[in-house]
């Protein structure tokens, strides 16, 4: 028998941990958040990758943030977030995967340079290339929002809006020169802001 309270391991400032925290708010799953040291004897056996978040749900341990939020929605039978119909589910999953494959890859260098101020990431041409790729990805979100009407996978909020919404928050919170305006993305950002989970774990001042 698993406990009602989920244990989440990770730093609340990490974008990948924030996906899990926001998902718990949307699902209504109680949780406790712990921040073990990455190399600690307590943490290491839970995730051989040494990365967070990790969840502990009774005796079930799981890592990889996008997998965790799919598991939690599925476990709660949250049909509105992740439908059980294979086709409807796949259309939600596409945008969750795309966040990992394209969106996150695009901003990596620029984010390190402009937010983390990382010394090895200060090459101007590489920053410009990353901002260009990032802008292209946001343009894809903008186009999709125009077609899907309101949320990333359709007219209603789904699990895909969690990784995409956090990524859009990062876009607006990063100091980008001459940031192009994407009206549908801006309206989406404000629409997400009506959700308490997003204000707590997404649009909370952290890029």
């Amino acid at each position: 028998m698993k406990p009602a309270t989920l244990k989440i391991l990770g730093k609340p400032s990490s974008i990948n941990v924030r996906k899990v925290l926001w998902a718990c708010e949307e699902i209504g799953r109680p949780f406790v958040l712990e921040e073990p040291a990455l190399g600690s004897a307590e943490f290491r056996p839970l995730n051989p990758n040494g990365l967070m978040p990790v969840i502990v749900d009774g005796d079930f341990v799981l890592w990889e943030s996008n997998t965790i939020i799919r598991y939690l929605a599925n476990d709660a039978a949250a049909e509105n977030l992740l439908p059980s119909d294979a086709r409807a589910r796949a259309l939600v999953e596409t945008w969750i995967d795309w966040q990992a494959t394209e969106f996150n890859t695009a901003w990596r260098y620029a984010f390190q340079a402009l937010v983390r101020k990382s010394p090895p990431h200060q090459n101007k041409a590489d920053i410009a290339a990353s901002v260009r790729d990032w802008t292209k990805a946001v343009a894809i979100v903008d186009g999709q929002l125009r077609r899907s009407n309101r949320f990333i996978a359709g007219p209603a909020f789904t699990l895909a809006d969690i990784p995409i919404g956090l990524s859009i928050n990062r876009w607006f919170m990063t100091p980008i020169e001459n940031r192009p305006s994407f009206p549908a993305v801006r309206a989406y950002y404000e629409r997400l802001s009506e959700r308490p989970g997003f204000m707590l774990h997404g649009r909370n001042g952290i890029p």
Binding site: F60, E64, N66, T67, Y71, A90, T94, W98, A100, I140
Partner: protein
């Protein structure tokens, strides 16, 4: 009939094709992307706004993102085989699929493969390739531990976890990069190479893709 849009030399098309092959599903494939082009037409962008391959068409239902495609195919046509029936096992298989994207893909494909195949020897960023190969070797050490007591990533049978990670392995083991000793990964890869669907759809010589001077 299932239709897969995408050139057979794309590693992401190969994931979808291997899945279709394992499931024995009747299908056809259309060459798109790379030298075939066709990704910037309004018709294609309407199917796949990300303008990459593959795109799946299952009787008019269209879908993109290769890992999403293989999860969809396995849930629809391979429940209990390629898609583990137990929800915990399914979630663990998904974790390894995500791991292939977050931990391996950039180093193995975007750096090692692209630098060796799409960049001339003169322009190759040798230091970046060496660093990427080192990271990939370390990450595969984690998979090596997982495979110590298992025939396949999840246990005794092939699942979507093997497909997502295993598709990258043909390139990893056939590129001239430094590899650490990974006995369990090597034995697993050898098992994959015995499968007809892997041979047909993944073991596709990439030398013809190399640019002149690569």
């Amino acid at each position: 009939m299932l239709k897969i849009l995408g050139r057979k030399t794309s590693v992401n098309v190969q994931k979808a094709m291997w899945t279709v092959g394992e499931l024995g599903l009747p299908h056809e494939r259309a060459d798109l992307g790379g030298e075939f082009g066709g990704l910037d037409t309004p018709e294609y962008i309407a199917l796949n706004p990300n303008r990459l391959v593959p795109t799946l068409d299952d009787g008019g239902f269209t879908l993109w993102e290769s890992n999403t495609i293989i999860r969809y195919l396995s849930r629809t046509y391979g429940h209990g085989t390629l898609a583990p029936a137990d929800p915990h096992a399914y979630a663990r298989a998904e974790a390894w699929m995500d791991w292939s994207l977050t931990s391996l893909y950039a180093d193995v494909i975007l750096t090692c493969f692209i630098q060796h195949v799409r960049v001339t020897a003169k322009d190759r960023d040798v230091a970046a390739v060496a660093a990427a190969a080192k990271r990939a070797g370390e990450k595969l050490g984690i998979l090596d531990a997982q495979l110590a007591s298992r025939q396949f990533v999840m246990g005794g049978q092939l699942t979507i976890a093997d497909i997502a990670v295993g598709t990258l392995m043909y390139r990893y083991f056939n590129l001239p990069v430094a590899r650490p000793s990974l006995p369990n990964v090597e034995a697993w890869y050898a098992r994959l190479t015995q499968r007809p669907a892997y041979q047909a759809h993944v073991m596709i010589d990439f030398k013809p893709m190399m640019v002149a001077g690569a």
